[in-house]
Assembly symmetry: C2
Homo-oligomer: 247 residues x 2
Amino acid sequence: MAGNSDTSLVEQDRNAPKASDQTNSSADLLARHGSRFLIRRGHQLALEAEQERYVYLVTSGALFLQSEIADGRRLIVNTYYRGDFVAPDAKVHLPQERLMVMKAGEVVRVKRRTFDNLVDTSTELGRHYRRALQLRALREEVHTVVIGRLNGDERMASFLIEAGRVFGSEVSGAVDIELPMLRSEMADYLALNSDTLSRLVTRLKTERIVTFIGRHRAIVDNWPQLLARTPIADILLQAYPQSTGRG
Amino acid sequence: MAGNSDTSLVEQDRNAPKASDQTNSSADLLARHGSRFLIRRGHQLALEAEQERYVYLVTSGALFLQSEIADGRRLIVNTYYRGDFVAPDAKVHLPQERLMVMKAGEVVRVKRRTFDNLVDTSTELGRHYRRALQLRALREEVHTVVIGRLNGDERMASFLIEAGRVFGSEVSGAVDIELPMLRSEMADYLALNSDTLSRLVTRLKTERIVTFIGRHRAIVDNWPQLLARTPIADILLQAYPQSTGRG
DNA sequence: CGTATGGTTGACAATCCTCAATCCGGGTGG
DNA sequence: CCACCCGGATTGAGGATTGTCAACCATACG
């Protein structure tokens, strides 16, 4: 949607690193002991089956993990992009934990026990996994700071910086972002309610920092001003390098 | 403080699992390639030196990781108890990241590069590390839910449940907790300001659920009612088993 | 076109924060 | 042993931010 006529994003996907990178070699190894799945927006991925938990490696597209507690309070706890592993705790679950596809792509799935054995035997996979967990922990800490200590405007700016890095492309000075989340999902990711989020969106439009086209496209007209809107812009830029998760 | 005359906590420490558990065997291995340190409340542990980052394993006591962004907004991102590894990202730092000792004890420290090599060569250490990261990720997700979707009362209750599990002991139906945090630190952990936290403490006193004695001791007189105060009590109990982190 | 889901907006309420004054607890020194 | 002191804790009044609810609008899809 909204992206087919604008080919720039698609072409960048084609130029993204494909073979011979770490993600792909791990994916190949895992695929030999599990299966590859094409995933489509809105799908829910099983976290377990037959009392055996699953481990996913995202090779393209994007996922998020959501939880829902009493009174329908929902929170998107985490986002997963290319190269990320989803390996939830073997025993304890968050309340109403759901792994959802936010952008179509492909994942590799193996059983947890199989995965553990592979990590024990393959030093390379072990290194990749540990590095991925490292980056994941950092992003989770950043996310904690965002929802714990930033106000609405700052959270919104932080989100758009993340999205710009992961899903955006630079087009003549502006950053063109294909947003894979609904407004309500952005709200759940930023621990706001969707009414408040909508007001924040409106504010960014009014101040001419971001142009929103339809529901799934945002063009950041003034990137520097967006950066200035959050006190942790520099950390976000480091935590989300430009190459992340494209495709 | 407040603990020397009350021997119950100390004796429980002595009964805690010592030799032949996973934490200790990993600690021994790491100590052979690094060093053990006694740590005291209030100390700050170096995250790096000479452009080499450190990895810590907590063998007793407790730590927390704090970050501070503009305007003095502070957040305690994470807590580390017995068996936890502290292995921050090699390159990216949170703003004004500090690793602080909240309860005296002992840690083992090795250089990151050394640690990575050891994990590559020791399957046992690798398993322990991955399991620790697993639990850490879960707790971080729970923490995210707490500060993202719970109100003040619920956050306070959630904190006391965690503290009760980690630092508490059951004494004739009540749970006696030696709180290693200042009020202001609890506030930073729960993403509240300390004035608000103080009001929440008062409310718990008024409702006769918890008795606070001095600054570092809390007695939960009505544990069931404390559990009822947060919608994620069951997950907290699972994420923080009773044995965790004593001593 | 028409319908359904999602998004926006306004009025109002609840929650949390800010700032300032005051209080307490645990050290210190007379 | 007691008076004093200081950092931390508590409390009140008022303001800012976010949430709630309801009405309305827009977009995507059949």
